[in-house]
Symmetry: D3
Subunit: 141 residues, 6 copies
């Protein structure tokens, strides 16, 4: 079994907020992240697929194809966007765009394309909010 990983970066804004709470409680729980003007990050997404190397090409998947999938499914929706206002999974739900939730949401965006292509399966999605903080999701067992 081989694990092949590709990284990409995107720049986005977000804030953390719970409508059911007072502004005071939001500030207590979310600190400076509760500022509803938003702040932003240079996010890194790291997508890992698992499979066998094709005996002719030597590829688990074509990395150009994987880059295109990442750009079409994730970056087109999130790059240079305000995640709370423009990313469908966060704008339409009471879901905070935390690093953890971004990792799950990116998995859901990527998994159908990887599965449809056959050959390899999505193994891991990692999102870095900063070089010091990252979340990883490996799907449901």
């Amino acid at each position: 079994m081989l694990f092949l990983t590709r990284r990409a970066t995107f720049s986005a804004s977000h804030y953390y907020w719970n409508d059911a709470w007072s502004a005071e409680k939001n500030g207590q729980v979310f600190g400076r992240c509760a500022n509803r003007n938003g702040h932003g990050h240079n996010y890194t997404i790291e997508v890992t697929v698992a499979g066998e190397a094709d005996p002719v090409t030597g590829f688990v998947v074509d990395l150009k194809w994987l880059k295109d999938v990442m750009e079409r499914e994730v970056l087109a929706a999130w790059d240079h966007r305000h995640l709370n206002l423009e990313a469908p999974e966060f704008a339409s739900a009471t879901l905070n765009p935390t690093t953890e939730n971004l990792a799950i949401a990116a998995w859901k965006r990527l998994e159908p394309s990887v599965a449809a292509a056959g050959g390899a399966r999505l193994s891991r999605v990692r999102i870095y909010e900063t070089p010091e903080i990252f979340a990883e999701y490996r799907g449901e067992p």
Copy 2:
């Protein structure tokens, strides 16, 4: 002459816009950066002071003091903020928070404190918007 540099990071949102232009022209000139919901970055600020090493301490300046100046003068105003809406130099003026303008604005914020401390002078301020893009300002000659 010695040059001593300290780095710090901050996360902020911004967009680029010119009120005198139509939305169409703003989009043509500023591309995805014209999205007024904002997007964001993990910025790095790199502050360089120039001077002689104190013969007793071996310091050009005390790096703890420099860190405090950077936090008080720059990070307190810009970190976890929307620069267009909350940073005074951009909120109160028709000035886009480009990397270039951030470098000049940070210089103006830092220079009086460095000058007042005596001994060393502010030599250079560099702002990284991403690891691939940075602007540097060295003051007026």
Copy 3:
């Protein structure tokens, strides 16, 4: 299952030595690391917790809390210290402060606080001695 990771850095001194050996044998086995004046590193500690994202906050754990735990349990004891002389687990025992032993020792320092908080479990501790060398401990199965 989500895995959330936070990094921090600390600067410390260490050397490698076995009292039961001659100076010559210590030199043969430990090379330049046997210099008992000590040498040092900028260590990076990477702490990973595993759990579910809280449906309200979107957090596996509060990253501010995790940072505080890391600072209180690990950095307060090791940062700007000589590990052989000042870190209790190495000063009081015949244990070399290798990267491997630091990973186990950091796990033992962190695990009770993570377990006591409930919700998430400590999944992995990684210590980088340099960018080229790191050790990882995942607890006992």
Copy 4:
């Protein structure tokens, strides 16, 4: 169980090609990588061994020994080489030197030495072609 990792870098040339295909098809599948003059990378190899820390030394393996094994078994054959023309596993076979195949080939080069030394087992080999692309092999289960 502890996992100890060491990184090294090497610079090499490669291209992707399948003799059974036309030049046109090679270009369609492999894009710019089909240029048979070759292009190159600064590769990073990351080798992880798993085991217990020796109670006397605190080592899973001696990192100097691991460095020597990596240099003798991998870097001596691949560093400053054209992988398609000079690396035996690629020059003598119809195997493309993809990141995936390099990870498997490095495992095969390293595993006998680690196994012969006893105490620790080879756990993982990761090859970075660029900071954005890497492949990982963990051996056969």
Copy 5:
């Protein structure tokens, strides 16, 4: 005066050789770099322009334009190429594609476009062969 910098990366092969010397002397002077099969690197090019920030846009130059210039003038000729065989300045001359010569050659490729655009001047070109080695050219005084 502001200095604005943009980075890009390219992957290329090269070797060092002097036709006027014996193979033995080439090996003595150029070491492993004299291997005429070539080896390669992930190069980074860092281009700095100097000028004033436009009062309306806040730009010294449009970074999208600068990226296009770098891709058209440098990356189109050098990326995924064998520099000794395919880059015109090295293929047609007895010039080794050292990091130093790449910096000068990139300057010559970029300077006319920057000058023609007006407003800013090319200030510095830096080429990283590896993260440990780089050359910088600032034009003739």
Copy 6:
């Protein structure tokens, strides 16, 4: 004029102390760095030489030669050492091994060898104590 730079790393211990002061005052001025057990860093030294590219080799200086000079003149004296106790310039004088003083001391160690070789001159020495802090010395004008 070309500027050619090579980086290397070394690991060393240090502390800051002034014998003329009380322990209390040392603590006030130097904070945690006054701990006389020492602490340590992975330092990076970046050495820049300036000159013309040799028309035959394309080298400002031979980078293998520069690496050897850096290892012989700087790393042999400082790597895996306690700078206050073992580096001659700090052990024999009342000079604190600050990043600033290390930059000057490295310049003095390197300059004679670069001058003796002819062709290029030492232009700049930069010492990183951490990725966030660095000092640069350019010699006397």
